[in-house]
């Protein structure tokens, strides 16, 4: 049987995937051999088991209480699920690897990859809240895209207090859709797949979400969406 090194376990998020039952039988067997003999993984599995067992009891106890902040289900968004793209979807967040395979899978109908012009247009706004829809920057900050394009942007510099980020697409001040971006993904270029959108000018606003759930716009950029 193959063996697993600790670096492999970290690289493949083995602890989380094990606890979430996301491993194949072979992976599971290899990882089990590993964590019985690895201090770090043993401690993480132990804590994860504690979390999930006690967490279940906590969830049951809290079940009768209203959720403090009910989940906002943005219409038309299924983050991470890239193909096929139903016509009603406006945009989706695409993991890096999925974006790459998407490009390959599309073959002749390959979607254009639009690197946001002037990535520095997405910059920290000094934590001064800006009205949704307010366009920061000049005309040079405009990116041009079409439905079906994958757009990339970087969140630099990041908000050190962010627990996650939200990318909100709006038009004329009206929020259309949004996707959550984990800190892990925010560290890389974030790809978004644009769905069916009427041609026109849109604003992409990146907000950091702090521990207390409050949001702070950190950057924005204009996207001119053309005809497909």
């Amino acid at each position: 049987m193959k063996t697993m090194e600790h670096t492999d376990a970290i690289r493949m998020n083995a602890v989380e995937r094990y606890l979430l039952d996301e491993m194949s039988e072979e992976e599971r067997a290899i990882f089990e051999e590993h964590f019985f003999d690895c201090g770090d993984c043993m401690a993480a599995i132990t804590a994860g088991t504690q979390l999930m067992i006690a967490g279940k009891a906590v969830a049951k106890e809290d079940g009768s209480q209203p959720v403090e902040n009910p989940p906002e289900i943005a219409p038309g968004i299924q983050a991470g699920n890239v193909l096929p793209m139903p016509a009603r979807k406006r945009w989706r967040w695409v993991p890096q690897a999925a974006a790459a395979s998407l490009l390959l899978a599309f073959g002749a109908q390959i979607p254009r990859v639009v690197q946001m012009v002037r990535p520095d247009a997405l910059r920290l706004s000094g934590m001064v809240p800006i009205a949704v829809g307010q366009i920061r920057g000049g005309p040079d900050d405009v990116s041009h895209a079409r439905p079906g394009d994958v757009i990339y942007f970087d969140i630099t510099p990041p908000d050190p207090q962010a627990h996650s980020y939200v990318a909100n697409l709006n038009r004329r001040g009206k929020s259309l859709d949004e996707v959550t971006i984990s800190l892990e993904h925010a560290m890389k270029s974030v790809p978004l797949l644009l769905g069916e959108l009427p041609a026109g000018s849109y604003v992409l606003v990146i907000e950091s979400v702090r521990k207390d759930g409050k949001r702070y716009p950190v950057a924005s950029s204009v996207i001119e969406v053309g005809e497909r």
Binding site: F36, A47, Q50, G63, P71, N81, W93, P95
Partner: protein
């Protein structure tokens, strides 16, 4: 519970069924075995039977352990074999039937204790309310995880990151507790080493 380096003293005390050592042994391996066993059994009761078999078999076969430091993989090997066989027949000796022996499943109660629930609450409170709500939905296991992710507008990668953060928060919470005296391998069996 911290990673433990098993040695001759520990294994000897285990062979002697020293209560304190048995308690440590059960507590140490319970959480490691729980997922492995539970996912292959239909109920907690069935899991309990299988885990008792595992612990019992390991204790019975300790003489076959050549390197005490390899006790972890030794237990893992037995667990896999027993799960494969899915032995359910009752043994002549039941760990819980024997008087004055700890019940391995007491540690399940410990994991659900009020104290542990408070630690978990504290760990979850360090996440966004929406994230904590998502994880609770996962813990309850009442819906397919893909459906939960869809409902919350996240993907499985995000779920893994959240779980990772929650685990780290819980470990930080547990680390705040006054540390119980660490039991180094040398402390096991040191009393028995003294001449009467």
């Amino acid at each position: 519970m911290a990673f433990f380096t098993f040695d001759d003293h520990y294994v000897r005390r285990l062979r002697e069924r020293d209560r304190e050592t048995l308690e440590h042994f059960y507590a140490y391996f319970f959480a490691l075995l729980y997922h492995m066993v539970r996912r292959k059994t239909a109920s907690d009761d069935e899991a309990k039977d299988v885990m008792q078999d595992i612990f019992l078999r390991v204790l019975q076969e300790l003489d076959k352990l050549r390197e005490p430091s390899r006790l972890g993989p030794f237990v893992c090997g037995f667990a896999k074999n027993i799960l494969r066989e899915h032995v359910r027949m009752r043994r002549h000796e039941s760990l819980t039937d024997a008087p004055d022996r700890p019940d391995p499943f007491n540690f399940l109660k410990e994991l659900e204790s009020k104290e542990m629930r408070e630690h978990v609450r504290a760990a979850l409170s360090r996440l966004e309310p929406r994230e904590a709500s998502l994880l609770k939905a996962v813990f309850l296991d009442e819906a397919d995880r893909d459906e939960i992710c869809l409902e919350y507008g996240v993907n499985r990668d995000y779920l893994r990151v959240l779980l990772h953060r929650a685990i780290e928060h819980l470990r930080a919470e547990l680390a705040k507790e006054p540390k119980k005296t660490p039991r180094s391998p040398e402390t096991f069996g040191c009393l028995s080493a003294l001449p009467l």
